[in-house]
């Protein structure tokens, strides 16, 4: 089952530049939460802080409190490597491993984390591919085709399966469908809807209609600050903040 996320006072820096200013947010378990905002508002940065990917950029660091379930993500003695195992991430551009087969792609995370039992791995691979609605399409060519030989939409579902294989508690998605065609996009959106039964999903999107379609909660970011965070319906019909309203109605962004 998924877990909830508590963010208190999160600040993120690129060198000296403060990109995220004291963000507070409570993400409920087993829901899909969307993060929207204009380019450069910090939505990607925010999500990358949740699984400590932000600090992999040279000179970048973050401070504050992020609690995922009962895990302190930025606690003393917490290993980012373990955090990233428990918080999965799917990227904007599908990035399967081109030198590995479909099977090996999904199994990659498992092998990293010390799984040796072939039967166990095989079961988990099948389960992950079924969860990401890719199993039927690839079950006959699992070992023969490389990860990169699939279509764009399939590649992204493969990446989702890869992330799910290590059984994270949270799934972060950074504009997962923005590089895909409309049909693949709708498949991904369907998938997200299914996934929330088992995982907590946070999705960054610049597509407001997408947020309206898949997310129950939405947070609007502007220039590094969280302006408004509420039920999606409310954000899009009666936003409390004028800036939210301006963005929604297309006055900027």
């Amino acid at each position: 089952m998924g877990v909830g996320i508590e963010v208190r006072g999160l600040n993120a820096y690129y060198g000296k530049h403060l990109a995220l200013k004291s963000v507070d947010m409570t993400v409920p378990a087993n829901h899909v939460t969307a993060v929207i905002g204009p380019s450069g508002c910090g939505k990607s940065t925010f999500v990358r802080c949740l699984n400590r990917m932000h600090e992999t950029i040279p000179e970048a660091h973050a401070e504050g409190e992020v609690k995922v379930g009962d895990m302190q993500v930025y606690g003393d003695g917490t290993d980012p490597v373990e955090i990233r195992r428990r918080i999965g991430m799917v990227f904007q551009k599908p990035n399967p491993f081109p030198t590995m087969s479909i099977y090996d792609n999904v199994a990659a995370g498992l092998k990293l984390n010390g799984f040796r039992n072939r039967k166990q791995i095989s079961e988990l691979v099948e389960r992950s591919l079924k969860l990401s609605a890719l199993w039927d399409e690839v079950k006959d060519t699992l070992h023969k085709k490389s990860g990169a030989s699939l279509s764009g939409g399939q590649q992204q579902r493969l990446c989702i399966a890869r992330s799910l294989a290590v059984e994270p508690q949270v799934l972060l998605m950074d504009e997962p469908a923005s590089a895909l065609d409309p049909i693949s996009t709708s498949k991904i959106e369907e998938l997200i809807f299914q996934l929330k039964q088992h995982y907590t999903v946070v999705i960054v999107t610049h597509n407001m209609q997408q947020a309206a379609r898949v997310a129950e909660l939405t947070g609007f970011f502007l220039m590094g600050s969280l302006i408004e965070f509420d039920k999606t319906e409310k954000i899009f019909t009666t936003p409390a903040d004028k800036r939210t309203e301006d963005y929604i109605t297309g006055r900027f962004g």
Partner: protein, 292 residues
Amino acid sequence: MPNSTPTSSSLQISIFRRLTNNLATAFAIMAAILVILPLLAIFIYLLIKGVQSLNWAFFTQLPKPPGEVGGGMANAIVGSAMILGIASLVGIPMGIGAGIYLAEYGRNVFGDVVRFTSDVLNGVPSIVIGIAVYSLIVVRQKHFSALAGSLALAIMMIPTVARATEEMLLMVPNTIREAALGLGIPKWRTTLSISLRTASAGVITGCMLAFARVAGETAPLLFTTLGNQYWSRSLNQPTAALPLQVYTYALSPYDDWHKQAWAGALILIVMIVTAVGAVRIVTSRGTLKGAS
């Protein structure tokens, strides 16, 4: 769906994985140190031992007969300068010409053939080039000469210069060529005065790199120029060259000659490092002058 965590619920990864990670980092750092160590060792020895034997006599005197102490490498320094000068005079224009062909006229199958051949030429061991020039020139003329050696070195310069010229010319935007042609400037002039001039910094870099590469070459000179303990009176004679002299002296049994070999090596490396350093300065000023 139950969320079974494969590891313990502590927020730490296994000791084995952490250990492997640290070992890998240590190994990489060690590799960097082990690679730089010989470099430093060579330069330090060159400096110390070379400077010890450098004196005025080294630059102005001829070698003394074997066994006698003293003398210098004046003829070798001059000889090298001559040979390298002629090699550059022949090799650089030919290389630039080939590069111009490849960039401006050679986007076709024959161009690919030339490109491939140039690569092959680049990979030919220098001693094999020496053999070829030996049988072409030395055998026919029945004597060794500076010219033969220069030719061998020129051949070695061509691929480097050609590749640099081609790459740099390809980087010149086509709009510049079109502008020139549109003004009525004929193609040959456009290529030389406009394209080549724009790419000049990179081409000069290529020439200097080629020069630095052949400056220290010994093998192609072994049986073309042969070497000479005296001044050569013409280019058609065996001539002394710095790398050859270093080689002969290093293998000799005489201590004094060993010392002079270090001195000669120092001069050689100074020449080369100057060329390489000049390359860095030229490139740091920007590769394309005049391009947008």
